[in-house]
């Protein structure tokens, strides 16, 4: 199944991406929102504070804090007390949360947080790439990347559904590209309360902080038990793989919209060249695929919607028939000169019988535009790989040599 939008025209409105997400959060009935404003996430929490001021969210506390570290720390306590919690952040703010991200997942608190993806300092840059969230990939948070505004909004409800599942109980980041998605206006359907109530039951925690029945959360674990905690977290991530698919299918049944679960394939079936990517870049590639298919070039798109847990098996199945795969990354692992999607996809092929050439192309860092022409050039280069083999395994596709 590929992307399906049955958008009821009567229900459609034009909204900013941040507003659509804030509205989705409201409709998910949060009990505690804690956030520190940071560009380009600001509009989301501004809208939420406006909803609070207007009395549109009941049974909810809105905590304004002095830093992102505090924002997430406040939610560790709130979630432990049984609240459905929400926050949003980006870039340096997310990096400042690093320590608390581990605490949240280690304590198995299913908080949902929107990341309006942005480059990290230095040099200071407020525009979009994926370095911030990719740098947090090992913290035990589910990570999903949205292609457009409607998906950013709908992903919020899906994330709660997966995170709060008793077989998962892990926090989730829903990632939307900063500015490109957060500040853009598009026609969309805002989530409806009655449908979300049907989709998302109230959060029922296994344990809660309660003065009448004191419990210890996040206690000490010495070497005799620490490994097993990590093992159980990994098991929860494994459990999340089918749950993410289920959450997407169930969402489709109720709302009529489907974006893929772990991945989504577009024109991949007979494709010689498959481009894989995450986030809004997927939309650009979709157009390039249409354009090049019209010219008879067999190119396909693999949208990676879920990056953590990493859907290795789904990706392998999607790309095994291709003659070349290009993973496009808006991040770099410095010292390896590779983007995360490339490294991990390549690794997932090792020790299997699948022998498909794969290269990585890093692109769009610090908000650099990714025009259709750049993607077409990458496809052109991929054709060369089919005929004469891999020349450069991983590199920046849009480097300005004259600046160096």
């Amino acid at each position: 199944m590929t992307v399906i939008r049955t958008l009821d025209k009567d229900k459609m409105s034009v909204a900013e991406g941040s507003y659509a997400v804030a509205h989705a959060v409201k409709i998910c009935r949060p009990n505690v929102i804690s956030a520190y404003p940071i560009t380009p996430q600001t509009h989301i929490v501004e809208d939420l504070s406006q909803f609070m001021a207007d009395g549109e969210i009941s049974n909810c506390e809105y905590i304004t804090v002095e830093s992102e570290f505090s924002a997430l720390s406040a939610l560790v306590g709130s979630a432990a007390a049984g609240a459905r919690c929400y926050s949003a952040t980006t870039s340096q703010g997310l990096e400042l949360m690093h320590e608390v991200l581990f605490n949240m997942s280690g304590m198995r608190l299913p908080v949902v947080m929107t990341i309006a993806n942005r480059a990290v300092s230095a040099p200071i840059n407020i525009w979009n790439d994926h370095q911030d969230s990719i740098s947090q990939r090992d913290t035990g948070w589910i990570q999903m990347y949205a292609e457009d505004l409607q998906e950013s909004s709908d992903m919020t409800a899906q994330a709660y559904k997966v995170a709060e599942d008793k077989d998962v109980m892990m926090p989730a980041m829903t990632c939307m590209d900063g500015f490109i998605l957060s500040h853009v206006y598009e026609p969309l359907v805002l989530l409806e309360q009655d449908l979300v109530d049907e989709y998302l039951p109230p959060y029922e925690p296994e344990y809660t902080l309660d003065p009448k029945n004191p419990l210890t959360f996040g206690a000490f674990a010495d070497p005799t038990a620490y490994t097993e905690f990590r093992y159980l977290q990994q098991q929860a991530m494994d459990n999340a793989l089918p749950k993410i698919e289920e959450a997407a299918n169930e969402f489709y049944e109720i709302f009529g919209r489907y974006y893929g679960g772990l991945i989504d394939e577009y024109e991949t079936e007979d494709a010689d060249i498959i481009l894989m990517a995450m986030g809004s870049l997927v939309g650009t590639i979709r157009d390039v695929v249409d354009k090049l298919r019209a010219k008879g070039i067999k190119v396909g798109l693999l949208k990676v919607r879920t990056f953590r847990p990493f859907p290795a098996e789904a990706i392998r199945n999607a790309i095994k028939g291709a003659r070349v795969v290009v993973a496009l990354d808006k991040n770099i692992s410095l010292g390896l000169n590779e983007g995360a999607l490339f490294t991990e996809t390549k690794a997932s092929l090792y020790n299997t019988k699948i022998d498909v050439p794969i290269v990585g192309r890093m692109i769009g860092h610090g908000g650099r535009d990714i025009p259709v022409k750049t993607i077409e050039d990458i496809v052109e280069e991929a054709k060369g790989i089919i005929s004469s083999g891999i020349n450069t395994e991983s590199k920046y596709a849009d480097l300005k040599e004259d600046l160096l």
């Binding site: 304590m107 419990l215 210890t216 206690a219």
Partner: protein
């Protein structure tokens, strides 16, 4: 025993974590020098110094990790840090 979701447990678990096993040096009081100022009790990070009825103090060696803060802070040098024997 199996691990609960998120490792949530009853309070008071540190009681079974006898951190005294980590100790290399053990503090020992010289009550002749002690002026009962309570600094050792106040400053011990592990609450391993306990008051006695006579106003002097005692160590709980099950939990004293041997950091030496009490000995360092005692104004009359009434606490000696002695190497633990096997």
């Amino acid at each position: 025993m199996s691990i609960s979701l998120g490792g949530v447990c009853e309070p008071g678990t540190t009681r079974v974590n006898k951190t005294g096993g980590w100790r290399t040096f053990r503090p020992v009081f010289d009550y002749d020098k002690c002026i009962k100022c309570k600094l050792c009790e106040l400053l011990c990070p592990d609450m391993a110094v306990f008051p006695r009825d006579d106003g002097f103090f005692e160590f709980d060696y099950d939990y004293c990790k041997g950091c030496g803060i009490c000995a360092n802070e005692c104004p009359t040098e009434a606490i000696d840090m002695v190497l633990e024997e096997k």
